[in-house]
């Protein structure tokens, strides 16, 4: 198995290196090594999945000791268990499809091979993140995916906004990563090791003993997750990340990388379980982020940004789940979300492809006729996202809502429920604006065309998956998915069973109702025009502006953090560095030289002056010797 695992992990790296160094040789065939590499990974993960069915507890492989210093021995070790198997499957499937899709999408780009090299590198990093057996190696993957994200967001770097967005993504991520590092330090200082299994063993064999330290550690780790998974307040990079090529958004900023935070929390659930109060915090932030982002999505006009806010919002859901201890539910939502959000992005990419890169939904309309495949798949994705049964999103979202309700966090449940309504509303606002109604921009409409099969086929595959994967979760705790993950994540332990089983059905109906209501309202507003959205916007006034301005968080950060720090830096450089420190040094030199100059000039005088000095000197000597006696 080790061989296959290594192949799965390193094939994309090989692909990246191949494209990176011999790329000129492949030219327009650069996709070939890339897809072969990811294909190998995909096959490998299928085999591994098969293997994991027989080995519920998974296995660890240590390749070599990476950083050995005193007590610290960080191995380059891989841990493959069922959680990793699921992640592996998600990552390789979506990547494989996105790679194929990219052949069509990126066809005419001059940076073709660079694109595939980055993409392969990303897959490698993500797999490393997933397969690591210790926190430090996880962190390696964690930063490496950030790097790839940076490179891919800024892929069209000649556009200032794109390179800015890449930089912003990296820096905001780094803030989270800094927290993550502190978490690692705390763990090491406490446990003397960074390997999952050892830490978990210690924690689980001394329940309650470490809760103080773990509160700090998990808080720090969660800070990393907040950055990577774009939660409030570090979500600001994700909407901007839409500057990157759309397949990248699908892969990195919807399906895989951004979910790394969720994965990490699930992975270290033995730690989070010890400190439920931090779990509640995680869930609260998740819930807040969910509704916060959804509300912004309501008024966003850029179709990709709508999807981006939607991703933030859905990630919030996942954190609600993992925060409340429903790790399987969180991972399940991660699993389904990867497919339908990936699909939505690919479909949005297809729209852009058709309209020559246009993103403003107000310029579109009636595209259904022109591009039926895209339309159909988009709607499937949107329905899945809105939680309409029997599509995938329904199952996973419902499970999260249920777990929130059952653990007694009614407020969180309420917020999540409201978010479900908003989700349906903004998704169908988008659909009605883009695919239905009358074309608003004739030229754009004329130009529009359906994408080539190389793009639509991956979309359809994802669409099918979006419809079907949810059934794995049918039956909640007794579902296939739960049973599969149980050896790794365990069952959700509901402390007091507050709600009877019968109430479950009511909850399901409520959440479905929220979704349907959202769709209905969108239909009324954006297709029928009553209530008129514009009038509503005017009536809302302040709130509308607030939403439109995305709560002005970016501006706030800019004015409160970036500008003052930068200004202070400039000031420090000018005043402290140049004038105070360097000035003092130079002044010392100059004053010495100036004093010297006086002496120097004094010695270029008439003979008489010298002789007077002699007299003076004689007197001083006299005084000296007399004093001495």
């Amino acid at each position: 198995m080790k061989g296959i695992l290594l192949m799965t992990l390193f094939a994309p790296l090989a692909g990246a290196i191949l494209n990176g160094f011999l790329g000129t040789w492949f030219r327009k065939k650069a996709h070939f090594p890339a897809i072969v590499a990811v294909g190998l990974s995909f096959l490998g993960s299928l085999v591994l999945f098969q293997w994991s069915l027989q080995h519920p507890l998974g296995q660890e492989w240590i390749l070599y000791t990476w950083v050995p210093v005193a007590d610290l021995r960080v191995p380059f070790g891989l841990l493959f268990d069922r959680l990793a198997a699921i992640m592996l499957l998600v990552v390789t499937t979506v990547s494989f499809l996105v790679h194929i899709y990219s052949i069509g999408y990126m066809a005419d780009d001059p940076g073709y091979r660079r694109y595939f090299a980055y993409l392969n590198l990303f897959v490698f990093s993500m797999l490393l993140l997933v397969l690591a057996n210790n926190f430090l190696l996880l962190f390696v993957g964690w930063e490496a995916v950030g790097l790839c994200s940076y490179l891919l967001i800024g892929f069209w770097y000649e556009k200032k906004t794109a390179s800015d967005a890449g930089k912003k993504a990296f820096i905001v991520n780094r803030i989270g990563d800094a927290g993550f590092l502190l978490g690692i330090f705390t763990l090491f200082a406490t446990f003397g090791t960074l390997e999952y299994t050892r830490i978990f063993e210690i924690v689980q064999s001394n329940p309650g003993y470490f809760s103080g330290v773990l509160a700090a550690a998990t808080l720090f780790l969660f800070m990393g997750a907040v950055g990577k998974s774009a939660q409030f307040p570090l979500y600001v990079w994700l909407p901007d990340a839409m500057e990157g090529p759309t397949p990248v958004s699908a892969l990195i900023h919807a399906a895989t990388m951004v979910t790394a935070g969720v994965y990490m929390v699930a992975r270290s659930h033995p730690l989070f379980q010890e400190v439920p109060q931090i779990g509640t915090l995680v869930a609260s932030i998740g819930a807040f982020t969910a509704i916060f982002a959804a509300s912004i999505a309501l008024v966003t006009d850029d179709i990709k940004r709508v999807l981006a806010y939607s991703t933030i919002s859905q990630l919030g859901y996942m954190f609600v789940a993992v925060g409340l201890g429903a790790y399987t539910a969180g991972i399940f939502h991660l699993f389904t979300h990867a497919f339908f959000k990936g699909l939505l992005f690919l479909a949005a990419g297809s729209v852009m492809h058709a309209t020559g890169g246009e993103l403003n939904m107000h310029k579109m309309g009636g595209l259904w006729k022109k591009m039926p495949h895209t339309g159909w798949t988009f709607v499937i994705g949107a329905l899945a996202l809105s939680g309409i049964p029997p599509l995938a999103g329904f199952f996973s979202k419902d499970e999260i809502l249920a777990s929130a309700f059952r653990t007694g966090h009614t407020l969180i449940w309420g917020v999540a429920w409201a978010t479900a309504f908003l989700t349906a509303l903004y998704m169908f606002r988008l659909i009605f604006k883009v695919f239905f109604g009358n074309p608003r921009d004739p030229a754009l409409y004329e130009h529009a065309h359906e994408s080539p099969p190389v793009m639509t086929v991956p979309m359809w595959i994802l669409a099918v998956l979006s419809v079907t994967v949810g059934w794995l979760g049918l039956g909640e705790e007794s579902s296939l998915f739960h049973r599969f993950l149980a050896p790794t994540l365990g069952h959700l332990e509901i402390v007091p069973p507050m709600v009877e089983k019968e109430a479950g059905l009511g909850l399901i109906l409520l959440s479905v109702a929220a979704g349907l209501a959202g769709i209905w309202l969108a239909y009324q507003m954006f297709l029928k025009g009553s209530p008129n959205p514009t009038a509503l916007a005017q009536r809302a006034g302040f709130f509308y502006r607030l939403l439109k301005g995305k709560y002005y968080v970016d501006e706030l950060y800019q004015t409160v953090i970036v500008t003052p720090i930068r200004g202070l830096a400039v000031l420090t450089f000018r005043l402290v560095d140049r004038i105070l420190i360097d000035g003092t040094v130079n002044l010392t030199g100059k004053s010495l030289a100036a004093t010297g100059n006086v002496i120097r000039k004094g010695s270029s005088a008439r003979t008489r002056t010298y002789l007077f000095w002699v007299l003076l000197g004689a007197h001083v000597l006299l005084w000296f010797l007399l004093k001495g006696r």
Binding site: S604, R606, T607, R608, L611, F612
Partner: protein, 102 residues
């Protein structure tokens, strides 16, 4: 007279010579004042030798020789100055080095 009187007189003469060197501008007079200073030393030595030390008187002879050679060199230099500037003025020496370089 006591030795101290000689010594005091010698010092007085020395001071007069010194003042002369300091304030005269004519090189010739400066040389003469230098000579005066030398000879003032001689006077002090006379006073010193009153105590019976013959050494002092011997030194006077040497001083005379030294003073003479000093004047010889001084005159030599003076001639050069006069040749170059036309006057033996200590404040108008030939081509003074730049008074101050910035």
């Amino acid at each position: 007279m006591s030795p101290n009187a000689y010594i005091l007189l010698g010092l007085l003469l020395f001071t007069i010579g010194m003042i002369g060197v300091l304030f005269r501008r004519n090189l010739m007079f400066i040389l003469m004042n230098l000579e005066l200073m030398m000879n003032a030393v001689g006077l002090v030595l006379v006073g010193a030798s009153l105590g019976g030390w013959i050494e002092g008187q011997l030194i006077i002879l040497m001083i005379l020789v030294v003073a003479a050679s000093e004047v010889a060199i001084g005159i030599g230099i003076l001639i050069n100055v006069v040749r170059l500037t036309g006057r033996p003025d200590v404040d108008h020496l030939p081509k003074a080095p730049e008074e101050s370089t910035p």
